[in-house]
Amino acid sequence: MVSNENMSTEAVVSRAHGNSLRSSARNLIARLYREKPLGFIGAVIVFIMITMAAFAPWIAPYPFDEPHYSNSLEGSSPAFIMGTDFLGRDLFSRLVYGARVSITVAVGSVLLGSLLAGILGITSGYIGGRYDTIVQRAVDAWMSVPPLLFLLFIMSILGPSALNVTIVLGLVAIRESRVLRGSVLSIKENAYIEAARINAASTGRILWQHVLPNVMVPIIILASLRLGQVILIEASLSFLGYGVPAPFPSWGRMLSSESRNYMETAPWLAIWPGVFLSLTVFGWNVLGDALRDLLDPRMRGTGGGYRS
């Protein structure tokens, strides 16, 4: 996390900080297991989903778009453990690849979103003044619009595609830039910021070297809380036909009208995608909550609320 420049004390301190981050990641998992059993369960679920996403071609018995017309709408059997859909595609394989779609989109958009929220929150909090006012009014405007509606709107302009969904879902994080701005406002008052300024450090350098490391924890917490939310919004967008397009299997679209007609005769089509979706969201939510409680109990009350 540190650029290799001259070995100033500052860089040494930062490097030590980086090492402690790595070992504290290991500690964190141990603490999760001991102190937050529910969060640990969440971590396990998340781990399973990520493994499924990463090794989908090896885990799924069939390619996600391989039709078996003679077996269409069949219940579970040794050949198709969770049954087949109206084209005779293996539901389990589609769900496994669905994990890939869901996790890729969610992680991509959360990284993008953290970058966006980080830039907006940090600069707005640190620079202040007119810039801050303008950014905050824009954030107000963003927070007043139901995210699903606005994202639908943008997706209908851009057209459905996995990349577009990922980028657009990143915007969800704008709401959280306000929390980061709040932390930056208090960090800004610290003596070490003043010291850096007296040493004629540039604003960019102060932001990168002194402010960013101090808001990393809130950024990570907010990102983990946002993952479940983003997965749900992706599912809703796909459900409404503006998300990840066919033939890629998205859990949300598997529940949509394209299979609704078959659900009465093939109830597994209505059940399994929802189970996968809910489990994943549950896993991310409880993991995010636990991380927040362990890393920064002061942030209790941020997120963890209602998701659409």
Binding site: S144, M263, S278, V286
Partner: protein, 314 residues
Amino acid sequence: MYRFVVRRLLLAALTMFIVSIVTFFMLRLIPGDIIDLMLADFGYAADRGLLETQLGLNLPLYTQFSNWFFGLLTGDLGDSLWTGRTVAEELSVRYPVTIELAAIALISSVVISIPVGIITAVRQDTWVDYILRSTSIGFVAVPVLWIGTLVITVPAILWGWSPPLSYVPFADNPLKNLSVMLLPGLIIGVPLIGGVIRMTRAMMLEVVRQDYIRTAWAKGLRPRTIWYRHAVRNAMIPVLSLLGLQIPFLLGGTVVIEQIFNLPGMGQYMLSSLQHRDYVPAQTIVLIFAAGTVLINLIVDLLYSYLDPRIRYA
């Protein structure tokens, strides 16, 4: 207080202005879509130019914007490009559906979750607490779109019954209207129930650790008085702000549920106009939802000072 309201209203107006600019120009960045659709599907006009002139799309962007925006200010919500009907006319039939859904969701979730949240706090670390709490965590994770899908399909499979899917206006037949709207409304509220239970519990537990509660115990007040008269009111304030913040998500839920239950609300109108690239209704609906959110948050802020007399707005 008065000055606070005025300031907030001015800020709200600014917010609305920004939202309207963004939605307007974003949609116009990609021109001609609706023209192509209209020409291809219906042959509405002999050529593009004529159609553009008819729809007013040949005017400069800023003129189009100011026409639309100042129209909004005078209560003219514009005309649908696709059907030519006014958006106001269409919305007048549709807004009661969405408002009713949101109201059912909000009221039911508050009525259910605040008492449950208080119970989990009073019975902290008993099995009642564990069961209600784990249920509430589950409630937050289960997507509205899945519950909706299940509610439509599962009873049909098990009992050959499915919820009524034909909307009846409240004025025509209140009972029948409620029988259609109650279920979808409750479903939209489900994630909110989970969130509010957790928030209520957390806030109650925080409040009961405070000095004035200890004083109340020391005075020998009955536990009931302490919990329900001294603690609850103070615990409700953050819960209220959570409710305010969740309004946008609630409105997002109505879009999904209206689609599943085939209810002719604003969300469904938005989806159908997006399908036709019909800008005007879509941007108006976004703006109306934004206005609703801002208004509700203002009301929440004002309720604060009612619930907590220490909060005074200057």
